[in-house]
């Protein structure tokens, strides 16, 4: 491990990768805590896959129609927010069919993306990079983007700590206390969507889902309040991303998969520890 840090010092690529993992840990720790306690992991997965539709559509407009400003990343943001709002409205209006809509959006989002990729002239392998990301190729601009996401997520988390907790714990009671429950639920989904979009660009879909859930699940074994859960999840996530990078460097493995397997094995191990 100490050798890894010596190498990191000498290597700006690895510095960016470690920094990206640490910065991402803040956002996933906070948002992941809400996602897990509100039991909307599946929603985060659906939003993450809708991102592909947005990426593909924006890329198509950029190449086929010559709209230079239409970056795939913007398409991803629009698609993710749209998916969040649709799922939010459906789950408020028609509770019993929520999972169907989530599953449908999941599949439709991906299918739309693949159609557009097929129709876009030229080779679109960079879209696949969006999907599966690579921590080792993080740019300075992307670090700035994750930092911006952290500011937004932590800011909203502090500002709206009370209503977010109430909406997650007991929606009906929150409504009776005059909390605009629907608005906060949709805001929560939109923040989740933005987190997913930004982090998908950096670390890829699968790692986003893993980081949103596994550190929180481990933290939840030991923490009794939402605040502690978030702090614990941030620490676990920071440990896993850094440790995973070190392992992947040491044994020449893909970093994303290594981080997931490290988190996953420690999660399974944590299940065998007795409850505190």
């Amino acid at each position: 491990m100490s050798e890894f840090f010596r190498i990191v010092q000498a290597n700006p690529f690895l510095q960016y990768a470690v920094l990206a993992g640490l910065l991402a840990s803040v956002a996933v720790g906070v948002v992941g805590s809400y996602v897990v306690v509100r039991r909307i992991t599946y929603i985060a997965g659906s939003i993450a896959h809708c991102v592909l539709g947005g990426l593909g559509a924006a890329r198509y407009l950029q190449v086929a129609w010559g709209l230079e400003w239409c970056e795939p990343f913007y398409g991803a943001i629009v698609a993710a927010l749209l998916a969040a709002i649709v799922i939010g409205l459906v789950s408020i209006r028609a509770r019993q069919r929520e999972d169907t809509v989530i599953g449908a959006l999941w599949a439709i989002g991906m299918a739309v993306g693949i159609l557009f990729i097929h129709k876009t002239p030229g080779y679109s392998s960079d879209l696949m990079n969006y999907l599966f990301g690579n921590l080792l190729f993080v740019s300075r601009a992307e670090l700035g983007l994750i930092l911006g996401l952290d500011v937004l997520v932590v800011g909203l988390g502090l500002l709206f700590y009370k209503p977010f907790l109430a909406v997650c714990f007991d929606q009906e009671f929150a409504r009776l206390r005059g909390v605009p429950v629907e608005a906060f639920y949709i805001l929560l989904l939109c923040v989740t969507a933005l987190t997913v979009v930004v982090l998908v660009k950096v670390v890829g879909i699968v790692l986003v889902i893993a980081l949103l859930t596994l550190p929180v699940a481990i933290s939840g074994r030991f923490m009794v309040s939402l605040r502690q859960l978030m702090l614990g999840a941030i620490l676990f996530s920071a440990t896993f991303t850094t440790g995973g990078l070190a392992l992947s460097y040491e044994f020449d493995l893909p970093p994303g998969a290594t981080i997931i397997l490290l988190s996953g094995s420690i999660y399974l191990l944590s299940l065998t520890w007795p409850e505190p």
Partner: protein, 259 residues
């Protein structure tokens, strides 16, 4: 003079798609300081009745006034205990956090709870007899303790009216007795509207029994004490049946009232 806590006049409510109303032409008053108990068979409309008072449902006919106003407008003056909290025992929340949620107010959603909020939450926990559990995880409590914490949450609202939907469902007899004793004590300073299956509770402390089975029949306190108190459990129910022929549609429904 302040308006009555609850006044319903000719209220009917039908759920969308239902072939008959859940509640039909009901008129009820709950006065200041009363301990009113809502009883009736399962599916008779007790929870619908409560949700109308809370303004969570709106009647198609008739008028509902809570403290003389539209229920939506005075919601925050009501402390509410839901029938069943869909609760994940692993939800990371301390007893204090749960009670503090009673301090939520539409004009104070930003930031964290104030020192005053924490004080009020502490007082509410003391009032339900659980001052030492504040830091415990809510999920680690017994059923009776959880109910008392949720009553503390309702009290932390500084309510003028306490509404409780089946506070003793799924509790053992000792825990149930504690809850009813607590309600009796709270009634010394608050108007209480409680849904209960427990007819013995109805007879002992209640000022008014509201028997709900699509229609509503109200029994006043003295009626109850004359006809019900000495009666045995089964006879009590029959007594209610006799005095309120329209309360229960048939015998089998009616006997489920004590379930």
């Amino acid at each position: 003079m302040s308006a009555l806590p609850v006044v319903m006049q000719g209220v009917s409510f039908r759920y969308p798609g239902a072939d008959r109303p859940a509640l039909e032409d009901i008129s009820v008053e709950v006065g200041e300081g009363e301990l009113a108990c809502v009883i009736g068979p399962n599916g008779g409309g007790k929870t619908t009745f409560i949700r109308l008072v809370l303004g969570l449902l709106h009647p198609q006919h008739g008028s509902i006034r809570v403290f003389g106003e539209n229920p939506d407008a005075v919601r925050t003056r009501i402390g509410y205990l839901p029938q069943r909290l869909e609760f994940d025992p692993q939800f990371p929340v301390s007893v204090r956090d749960v009670v503090l949620m009673g301090r939520l107010h539409p004009r104070g959603l930003l930031g964290f709870f104030s020192r005053r909020d924490h004080e009020r939450a502490g007082q509410a926990l003391a009032e339900v007899g659980l001052p030492d559990l504040a830091e415990r995880p809510f999920g680690s409590l017994s059923g009776g303790q959880r109910q008392r914490v949720l009553i503390a949450r309702a009290l932390a609202c500084d309510p003028d009216l306490l509404v409780l939907d089946e506070p003793t469902a799924s509790l053992d007899i000792a825990a149930e007795e504690q809850i009813y004793e607590l309600l009796g004590r709270l009634n010394e300073r608050l108007t209480v509207l409680v849904v209960s299956h427990d007819v013995s509770f109805v007879s002992s402390r209640v000022t008014k029994a509201i028997c709900v089975n699509r229609h509503v029949h109200v029994h006043a306190h003295d009626q109850l004490s004359d006809e019900i108190i000495e009666g045995l459990y089964g006879r009590q129910i029959r007594t209610l049946h006799h005095t309120a022929a329209d309360c229960c549609d048939d015998e089998s429904h009616c006997s489920s009232a004590d379930g």
